[in-house]
């Protein structure tokens, strides 16, 4: 699907770069699925990139991440992915819309 950066786009009328929504990878838990990199394969928005030696996942294009989507979290067998609190994000969006 998309290979365009989220930078420059808007979500709910607010510049995407002002919305702090992207996954955090716990590097203590992540083992890159022993090189299979399940989350990277799953995400169509090119949010992740893989590292080798040892295999590990990092977030590369954080603003590509679809706001409020946490579908990849269920894919992680190590529970290594976490997201911000959605109500906090909605409050940030509402405040940005009101300015």
């Amino acid at each position: 699907m998309s290979n365009k950066g989220g930078v420059g786009s808007t979500f709910m009328g607010v510049a995407r770069e002002t919305i702090p929504w992207w996954p955090e990878v716990d590097s203590d838990k992540c083992d890159g699925c022993a090189g299979e990199f399940d989350c990277l394969k799953f995400c169509p928005h090119l949010v992740y990139k893989s590292l080798d030696n040892p295999p590990l996942i990092e977030v590369e294009n954080k603003y590509n991440c679809v706001v409020f989507c946490k579908a990849c979290q269920k894919m992680c067998p190590k529970d290594a992915l976490s997201f911000p609190n959605k109500s906090d994000i909605l409050r940030i969006i509402k405040e940005a819309r009101s300015t």
């Binding site: 699907m1 709910m12 169509p44 679809v66 706001v67 989507c69 946490k70 959605k86 109500s87």
Partner: protein, 280 residues
């Protein structure tokens, strides 16, 4: 999906009188209206993609040559949508010429279509008319946005129905994800805040969450989708609806886009997500 074409599937019984009359009838109908699509039981059995697409995107009428009703059974196998059917046994048994019988079958079908178009719609969702939809052509892709609904940037729509709301996926979303083959709907009684997950679905391209476009409690879910998830692709603003939700605060709809606003947003998104450029 706006069903504009007529698809008529004749009996394929070459050894049956009903089959011959059925085929002559569809030939006559197509000579009267060249837009009519003549279906093929053989093509449906072989699941040819174009045949399946024509079937699912058209108003379907079956001509069953006998009580075996092969045409109707084939349509039921490949489409979840309602369709019309006529059985021509009584006509083929008449002591009349083949031309007279053929004309009688055509008249039967035309009377059925006239009666259907005059009938009060039984579905809850109104049939699409004229300017009920906004459309934008992007290369070969047509984006359809239904007027009067509210739209989230996660590509779900909200329709106000009195104190309740109905939600579903947009035409843009169903086109981006392609054929949906599985859906997992959340339980009635579930409460979701704006942006929370309300189940998920899988398509040939992606597995994704249903992201709630408002805060509220699920009152009803569309259980037909569990057997026929393709209804989301076929009729995203109608029979493909997802949930009926009692909203916590109806003013939350102010956060969403109107149809016109979503059309502009959707065009830009389609350019990126579908890799197409908007034609001037």
């Amino acid at each position: 999906m706006f069903l504009s074409a007529k698809y008529v599937l004749p009996c394929a019984g070459y050894d049956r009188p009903g089959g011959k009359v059925s085929r002559l009838a569809v030939d006559l109908m197509q000579s009267m209206d060249s837009t009519i699509i003549i279906g093929s039981i053989g093509a449906l059995a072989a699941e040819r993609p174009v045949e399946i697409k024509d079937l699912r995107s058209s108003n379907v009428t079956c001509i069953d040559g006998c009580s075996m009703k092969c045409a109707s059974k084939m349509v039921e196998k490949h489409s979840a949508r309602e369709f019309d059917s006529v059985e021509v046994t009584k006509i083929t048994d008449l002591d009349k010429s083949i031309d007279e019988k053929t004309r009688a079958v055509v008249d039967m079908i035309l009377q059925l279509w006239d009666a259907t178009s005059a009938a009060i719609p039984k579905t809850i969702e109104p049939e699409p008319k004229g300017d009920e939809y906004l459309t934008e052509m992007i290369d070969k892709f047509i984006l359809r946005v239904k007027n009067g609904l509210f739209y989230s940037d996660n590509d779900f729509w909200v329709q106000q129905e009195g104190e309740l709301t109905r939600i579903g996926a947009t035409d843009l979303l169903q086109q981006m994800v392609s054929d949906i083959y599985f859906i997992d709907l959340t339980d009635v009684g579930t409460h979701a805040d704006f942006g929370d997950e309300l189940g998920s679905f899988e398509s040939t391209k992606i597995a994704m969450e249903i992201i709630s476009p408002l805060s509220g409690t699920v009152i009803e879910k569309n259980t037909k989708l569990e057997d026929s998830p393709e209804l989301i692709n076929e009729d995203p603003y109608g029979k493909g609806w997802l949930y009926i939700i009692r909203p916590d605060d109806i003013s939350e709809l102010d956060l969403l886009k109107t149809a016109n606003e979503y059309l502009g947003y959707g065009v830009e998104k389609a350019k990126h997500e579908l890799g197409k450029k908007v034609s001037e």
